[in-house]
Amino acid sequence: MHEKEKDLISTFLSGGMSRRSLIKRLGAMGLTAASAGTLHNLMATQALAADFDWKKHSGKSIKLLLNKHPYTDAMIANLDAFKELTGMDVTYDVFPEDVYFDKVTAALSSGSSEYDAFMTGAYMTWTYGPAGWIVDHNEWINDPEKTNPNYNWADMLEGVRKSCAWNGVPGGELGSDDAKQWCIPWGYEQNNLTFNKGMLDKAGVAVPTNMSELMEAAAKVQADTDGIYGIGVRGSRSWATIHPGFLSAYSNFGEMDLTNDDGKLSAAMNTAGSKAFHADWVKMIQDSGAADWSTHTWYQVGTDLGAGKSAMIFDADILGYFMNGGDNAMAGELAYAGFAANPEAKAPTPNIWIWSLAMTKASKDLDATWYFMQWASGPEHALFGARKMDFVDPVRNSVWEDEMFKEKLNNGYPGYVDMYNASAPGASIKFTPQPLFFDMTTDWAAMLQRMVAREVPVDEGLDQLAASMNKQLAEAGLR
Amino acid sequence: MSDGLLTLQGINKIYNETSRHPVQAVSDLNLTVAAGEIVALLGSSGCGKTSTLRMIAGFEAVTSGEVLIKGRPVHGLHPAKRNVAMAFEGYSLYPPLSVAENIAFALKSERLDKAEIKAKVTEIAHLLEISDILERSPGSISGGQQQRVSLARALIRKADLHLLDEPMGQLEPQLRALLRGRIKHFIKQRGLTAILVTHDQTEANALADRIAVMEGGFLQQYDTPEHLKDRPANLFTGTFIGEPPMNVFPVQAEVADDLIKLHLEEGVSLSFPAGAFSPRLKDRLLLEKQFMMGVRPHAVKITETGQPAEVFANQWLGDQTHIAAYFAGQTIVSVRHDRARHAPGQNIGIELDAGDLHLFHSDTGAAFSHGGGVE
C-alpha cells in the first residue's frame, strides 16, 4: 500500500476532505471507487483492531468455496483489508450457481479438507449438519478468546440468525434453545413483488395486494402490453422453485409443508387450503406466466423483468434490485412492494433465503478460519458491502440503520426500503427443517410443472405428492 | 469390318485429364469384333485392356472416339441399356447373396419365371463345376470358385456382348485347361460374341479367334493366334508372344552375291546361302544395315558345329528342357523336347535356320521379314 494513498484516506477519515474529492484524487492515482472503498475500509478496520489480536494466525492460509454472486464480489473486493488486518492469506474457488451446490456436496461428502469455509443456504445445512460435515458455530461465537469484541452477534437480525440454527431433530423448531448454529448469516433475500411501473400504469392496474389481485393484474397487464407476460416466478425442476414467491404466498395462507406430530412428520400439502392455493398459483402461471416457465430459474425470472419481457416478478427482492440498475433495459423503471398473498393476512410473511457462511468440519484450522468468518460477517465488512457494493439485504440491524446505505437505496431504488420494512418482521424460513428437504421440494416443483402443464389435476397431484412424500418420510424413518 | 457387332473408333482414354499428371490409358484404338467372334485383349497389366473393357461396358466415359454396339453409338448410355454382360476379375459378387442368388440376380431384368431361372442356373453351374456350392456364400468359397460364379453370372445372360475380364486367373491349372474348352464350346454353340481380357497368352490362344495385343495403351497387333506367332508385327509382339520369349540380337548384315552374313556381337556371325532369303529381302538388307534379329527358342538348334556358346543353365521341366547359354554377348535360350544333358559350363554350337528368323527395324521395332521373306 502506498503511503500517499494512505495519507489521503487518513485525511478523509479525519474529516478533512469530502468523499467526492477523495475519490477524485484517488482516481487520479489510478484507483477505482471500489478499491478506494477497500482502502477506506481497511483504514477503518485497522482503527478497530486495537482490542483484539487479529494477527494471531498471521501467515496461515485458508481456502473458500464460493458461489458466483454479487455478495461474493463484494467480499472479494474487500479481501485485501482482511489480509492486511490478519496477515493471513485467502484463496477461493468460485463456481456458477448452476453447479455450485453440487460442488459443495461433492467436496463435503468426500471429507475434503481443501475448503475451510464456504457459502451456503440455510436449507443446505439441514443436510450438511446432520451429515457431520459442518460445525456448530456457537462454540466460536461464544468464545471471547476467539471472537473480537466488536463482532456484535446480537446485531444480527433475529429471524435470520435463528433461521440458521437448528437442533438437528427432524421437524425441530429453528432457533430453539438447543439449536446448533450451523451457519453464519451473511446476506439474505425476502421474496416480494417487483414490478414494472410503466407497464402497470399503462394498463391501468394498481399494485396488487393479494393473490387474486395479483392474478388479475398479471392477466390484465399481459393482455394490454405486447410481447410480455404478466408475472415471473421460478419454474425449473428444482427446490429453488418452491422456496421464493411460491412458499412465501403459501405460508401467508397459513399452509405448511409438513406437520410435526411429536417428531413424526407428515406431508401437509394436500389440505383443502393448500389445494385452493395451488389451484390459484397454477392458474396464474398458466394464464400469465412465462411460456418457458418450467425452465425458469431465478436468473431468467430476473433477466426477463430487466429486459421488459415481464411486468412483475414474485421473487427475491434483491433480484428486483439488480434489475433496476446497470444496463438493463428497464433500469429505473422498476418498483417494489411487500406482498401478502392472503387478503386476511395483516402483513407479508416472506420466506427467506439466507446466504450464509459455514466452516467445514474437515478444515485443518478452524480457529484461523473463524477469523475470516467473523471478519466477513462482521459489521465493518457488512457496512462496506452495503455502502459500496451491492450487498443488499444485509443481515445486520446496524447496517439497516446506516443512513448512507438507506440514502443509497432511496436514491436509486425508491420504495425498496419501504418494501423491506413492511415485510421484514414476518420474514423467516417457513420450511420444516428435516433431512428430506431437497427430495420434498424437488418433487414438489416437478408436481407443479405437471399441474401447470395440465398433466394432472391439482387435487389429484397434491394427493399424489403427499402420498409420495409420506412414503419417503416413512422410508427415511421420519414418520 | 464396319458391320461388326462392336466397333471401337479412335478411342482415347485419359485419366485425370484436368490434373497436372494426366494418364493416357488408351490411345487411338480402332477395333472391330464380328458377331459370334471371340476376341482376346492380351497385354501385361497397365496396357489399357481393362480400361477398354470398362469403356465398352459404360463404367468409364471415352475421352474421345466412339463405341458402337450393333452399329449404334452408345456414348452416354447407362450400362444397363447397353445389353452387355460382364464377368469381373475380382470380388464382384454380391456378398450378401448365395451363389445361386448371385447367378440368378443377373436375370432380374429379363423377367423369367422361377423354374426357368432354376434350370438356367443349374445348367451353367454344371458347366462351370460349381453345382456343389450353389447355396454357399461368396466369402466362404475360394477365389477360383468366386471367379467361376462371376463367369456364370455373365454367361447366363442373354446379351449382345459378353465381356470377360481375366475370367480364369484364379483357377488351378488343371481346371483352367478343362474350362477353357467348355467355355469356348458354350460360347460358340450359342453364337455369343465375347471379348476376353487376359494377360495369359495360353488362355488367349486357347479361347480366342483373334487376339488384340496391347501395350502402353496402343494396339500392337490384332490378328489370329497363328499369325501372331508366325508373323509378329513388331518386336513387342514378337517377344511378348511365345514361351519362352523370343531370343533377340542386334545384327549387322553383310550381303554378298552368294552369301549373306549376319554379324552379331562379340565377333559371332551367321552365314546363310543367299538363296535362303528372298531377293527382295536381300535388297532390303542392303538398306537396313543395322536391325534386330529374333529367333524363337524352339528354333535354336544345338549342334557340334554351330557358332560357339557356353551353357549356363539347363532346366528340365519334364516334357521339355530349357537350355540357356551365353551367345554373342547375350543369353540365348533353346527349347528341347527331350532331356538334354548339356551341363552348365559346357561349350556348345548354336545353329539357326534362315526360315526361323524374324527381322525388325532397330528403331521402330516393326517387323520387315519373317522366315526369309519380306513383309
Partner: protein
C-alpha cells in the same frame, strides 16, 4: 573365411520372456483401468446399502432392498421408460437421417466432401454446449427457433418447457449433435464397399431399389449396427444435454438414468439409491454391448459373404 566367423553365434532367449511380452505391453493400460474397477466395486457396495448422507445414523447394509424397491417405485419405471424411449427414438432417427445423408454424399465429389466436412461441426460441439446453444435458440423471448415457430403459426411453442415437446426438443439437440457421427460412419462404410458388385448390378440392369435392399443394406449392416450400438449405449446414458437443458423436467418427463442418479446423489444425497440406479443402467449397457458384439461378428460375416 573361417567357418566359425561365418555363422553368428545365435543368442538364445528364454521362452518365458517372449510369452510375457504382450502382457508387459498391455500391463500399464490394464493397471490404469483396474484403478477404475475399484470405484466400480465401491458403487456396487453402496448400492447394497441404506445410505443417505443427510442421515448418517441410518446407514447400513440393506442388501437388495434398493433394487427391490424399484419394482414398486413409479419413478424408477418412469426413468426406465424415459431412458429407453429417448435412446430408441434418437437412435432410430439418427440412423435414418444419417443413412439418408450418407447416401446423398456417397459419391466422391468436391461438393460432397465439403459438405461432409461441414457436417463434422456439430459433432465437434460439446453436447453440453450444444444444449446451451439450443436453449438460447428456443428461448421464448428472442430464440430464433421460437420465432420460426411463431411464423409457422405455432404461437405458443414451448420447446423444452412444455411436457409435450420437451422430449422432442432434447431429441432435436441429440439428433443435431450425433447424426453427423452416424453419417460419417455410414459414409465411410458406403465408400468402402467394393464397387464391382454395384457395377455388375448396374450392368445387369438390377433395379436400384432392389440393389439397395438386397446388396447395399446387408453389406452396410455391420457399420449400421456399430453406429447403432455406439449411439444406443451413449444415448441411454444421456446426461449432458438433458441436464443442461431441463435437469430432467418438466415434471419427470426427461428423468433419465444418469440425471436421476445425479440428482439422487447431489441433491437428495441418497447414495444407495443413486448407486443402485447406476448399477441397473450399467447392467443394461453391458447386456446390450454383449449382444452387439456377438451379432456384429455374425453380421460382418454375412456382409462379407462368409456365413
Amino acid at each position: 573365411m573361417s567357418v566359425q566367423a561365418d555363422m553368428p553365434v545365435m543368442r538364445r532367449s528364454s521362452r518365458l520372456s517372449r510369452t510375457m511380452l504382450p502382457y508387459l505391453l498391455s500391463l500399464p493400460a490394464l493397471l490404469v483401468c483396474i484403478g477404475i474397477l475399484i470405484p466400480f466395486g465401491t458403487a456396487v457396495y453402496y448400492s447394497l446399502q441404506r445410505y443417505r448422507m443427510s442421515q448418517p445414523w441410518n446407514r447400513g447394509m440393506n442388501w437388495g432392498e434398493n433394487y427391490l424397491n424399484f419394482f414398486t417405485d413409479p419413478d424408477f419405471w418412469n426413468t426406465l421408460q424415459v431412458s429407453l424411449t429417448y435412446a430408441g427414438l434418437t437412435v432410430v432417427l439418427e440412423l435414418l437421417l444419417g443413412l439418408g445423408i450418407a447416401l446423398l454424399l456417397q459419391k466422391r465429389s468436391r461438393v460432397n466432401n465439403f459438405v461432409s466436412i461441414m457436417l463434422l461441426m456439430p459433432l465437434m460441439t460439446a453436447p453440453a454446449l450444444a444444449a446451451l446453444m439450443f436453449k438460447l435458440m428456443t428461448n421464448s423471448n428472442f430464440g430464433i427457433l421460437s420465432y420460426f415457430m411463431q411464423l409457422a403459426g405455432f404461437q405458443d411453442f414451448r420447446w423444452a418447457s412444455s411436457p409435450d415437446t420437451a422430449l422432442l426438443t432434447v431429441i432435436l439437440v441429440d439428433v443435431w449433435v450425433y447424426t453427423p457421427f452416424i453419417m460419417i460412419l455410414l459414409l465411410a462404410g458406403l465408400r468402402s464397399l467394393p464397387t464391382q458388385p454395384f457395377e455388375a448390378a448396374a450392368l445387369d440392369g438390377v433395379p436400384r431399389l432392389e440393389q439397395f435392399w438386397r446388396i447395399t443394406l446387408p453389406m452396410l449392416s455391420p457399420y449400421i449396427l456399430t453406429a447403432a450400438l455406439f449411439r444406443l449405449l451413449d444415448s441411454i446414458q444421456q446426461f449432458d444435454i438433458i441436464y443442461a437443458m431441463t435437469q430432467g423436467g418438466p415434471g419427470d418427463k426427461l428423468m433419465v438414468f444418469q440425471v436421476e442418479a445425479y440428482l439422487n446423489f447431489f441433491q437428495s444425497t441418497n447414495v444407495g439409491r443413486s448407486a443402485a440406479l447406476l448399477m441397473i443402467l450399467w447392467a443394461i449397457t453391458y447386456v446390450l454391448s454383449n449382444i452387439f458384439v456377438k451379432n456384429w461378428l455374425r453380421l460382418r460375416e454375412r456382409a462379407r459373404g462368409e456365413a
